[in-house]
Symmetry: C2
Subunit: 218 residues, 2 copies
C-alpha cells in the first residue's frame, strides 16, 4: 500500500525553518519509532498543559496511555491534543551566537485523542505501547487483568495531521564570520545508549537477564 505524503493543514505547516521540513511519511514513522517518550499537550481550564508520557505507533495510529485518574488523560480524552516526539542529536556551535542551534529530529502531531475502550482494541493498543517501550515484554510479563485495564486510559491519535523537522550537519554561519575565523564551529553530538541492566533486588539471584533486554538495540 502506498502511503500518502504528509498533507499539511495550516497548523501542521512548518512556518519557520522550512528548509528543515520533511514531508515523507516514512520520516514521521522513523522519528516516532526512534523516540521513547513523547510530550502530550492539552488545554486544561483554558491554559496549556504539557506532560511527558509513553506512546506507541501502529501504522497510522499513535497510542497514548495513562492512569484513568490522571488529570491530563481526562483533559485529553475526546479533545484536541498536540504531541511532540523530539530526538536531540547534537549541539551546533557556531561562529556567531545567533547561529547556535541543535541537531534534532522532531515530529509534531495534531488531532483528537479518541479513548479506546473496547477490550480487544484496548489490549491491542496497550501491547503496541508496551512493545514500543520495552520490546519483547508483552509476551514475557503478565498481561493486564480487568482491574488494571480499568485503571488505564488508552487514547488513539490519528497520524494524518503531522509535521516533521530534521536538522543535521554543521552550523550555518554568515560568510563574514567564516572568513573572520575567530571562533571554533562544529557539532558536539549527543549519543544515547543503554546502561547495564539493573535486576530488581527482589529477583532470585540465579535469574538471567533475558535476551529481549540484553540485546535491545538503540
Amino acid at each position: 500500500m502506498t502511503r500518502p505524503s504528509l498533507s499539511p493543514t495550516p497548523r501542521s505547516t512548518i512556518q519557520r525553518g522550512k528548509k528543515h521540513a520533511v514531508t515523507d511519511r516514512a520520516a514521521l514513522d522513523a522519528v516516532l519509532d526512534a523516540g521513547l517518550i513523547c510530550h502530550l499537550s492539552v488545554v486544561a481550564d483554558g491554559a496549556p498543559l504539557v506532560l511527558p508520557t509513553g506512546y506507541g505507533r501502529d501504522g497510522d495510529t499513535l497510542y497514548l496511555h495513562g492512569s484513568s485518574g490522571a488529570h491530563t488523560m481526562r483533559a485529553a480524552a475526546g479533545t484536541d491534543v498536540c504531541v511532540a516526539v523530539t530526538l536531540l542529536d547534537g549541539i551546533v556551535y557556531a561562529r556567531a551566537v545567533f547561529n547556535f542551534s541543535v541537531n534534532y529530529r522532531s515530529a509534531v502531531i495534531h488531532g483528537v485523542a479518541v479513548p479506546v475502550t473496547e477490550p480487544a482494541a484496548k489490549l491491542h493498543g496497550l501491547r503496541v505501547l508496551t512493545e514500543h517501550l520495552a520490546p519483547g515484554s508483552w509476551d514475557h510479563a503478565r498481561e493486564p487483568n480487568a482491574r488494571e485495564l480499568a485503571a488505564t486510559t488508552l487514547l488513539a491519535l490519528d497520524l494524518t495531521e503531522a509535521s516533521v523537522k530534521i536538522r543535521s550537519g554543521p552550523p550555518a554561519d554568515d560568510d563574514e564570520d567564516v572568513a573572520a575565523g575567530t571562533a571554533w564551529a562544529g557539532v558536539l553530538p549527543v549519543r544515547s545508549q543503554w546502561g547495564a541492566p539493573e535486576p530488581c533486588p527482589l529477583l532470585p539471584e540465579d535469574i538471567a537477564v533475558p535476551e529481549h533486554v540484553t540485546n535491545r538495540g538503540w
Copy 2:
C-alpha cells in the same frame, strides 16, 4: 538567601504518582540545569501546540527564545504557557505489563511568558540561554548584532509555579507477581553522552577544538 519550597497551585499540584513528587526548589533547579531542551506548550487558535525549544535558567527565571517570526513565539508572548523539561533515566521492566514504567526527572512550569525587550536585559537572557546550551560559548563566539537581536524573541518565565516529579529505582510489582517469579524485572538505564566533536568543514584544518567543547561535562 533561603529559597522557599515549591508552593503548588491547583494546576501545579501533582495529582497522580504523588509519591514521586518533589517540593524542593533545589530539585527543580537541578532538573532544569541538567536538561538541554524543553517542550513549550501554548494555546494557539484554541488548540494546544507543543514544540521543542531551547532554554536557560537564571535564578528563578527561565528564559525561552525563538525566531521573532515563529508562530509559537507569537502565541506564547504575554500569555499562559506550560514548559516541560524531562530527563529519561531508564526503562523499568516489571513482572506485570501494568507496572512497566520509566525512571525520569521531570519539571513542569506554568506561567505567563513575558517578552524581554530592553536591550541589556535581552542580551543577558540570551547569554543565559547560550551558556546553558553551550557553556563557554558567549565569550568565544560573536555577540548578536542589532539585526540578529531584532530577529530573536526572548521570553521570561517565572519559576514560581512549578512541579517536579522524579522516579528512580526498581519496578513496584504486586506481591503475587514477585512470588510467581515468572518474569525478569529490573531497570535498563538510559545514558546520554557527548560524541566526538565534529568540526565545521569550513574551519581551517589547524584550528584545535577549544576546551569549553572538549571538556564539557554531561
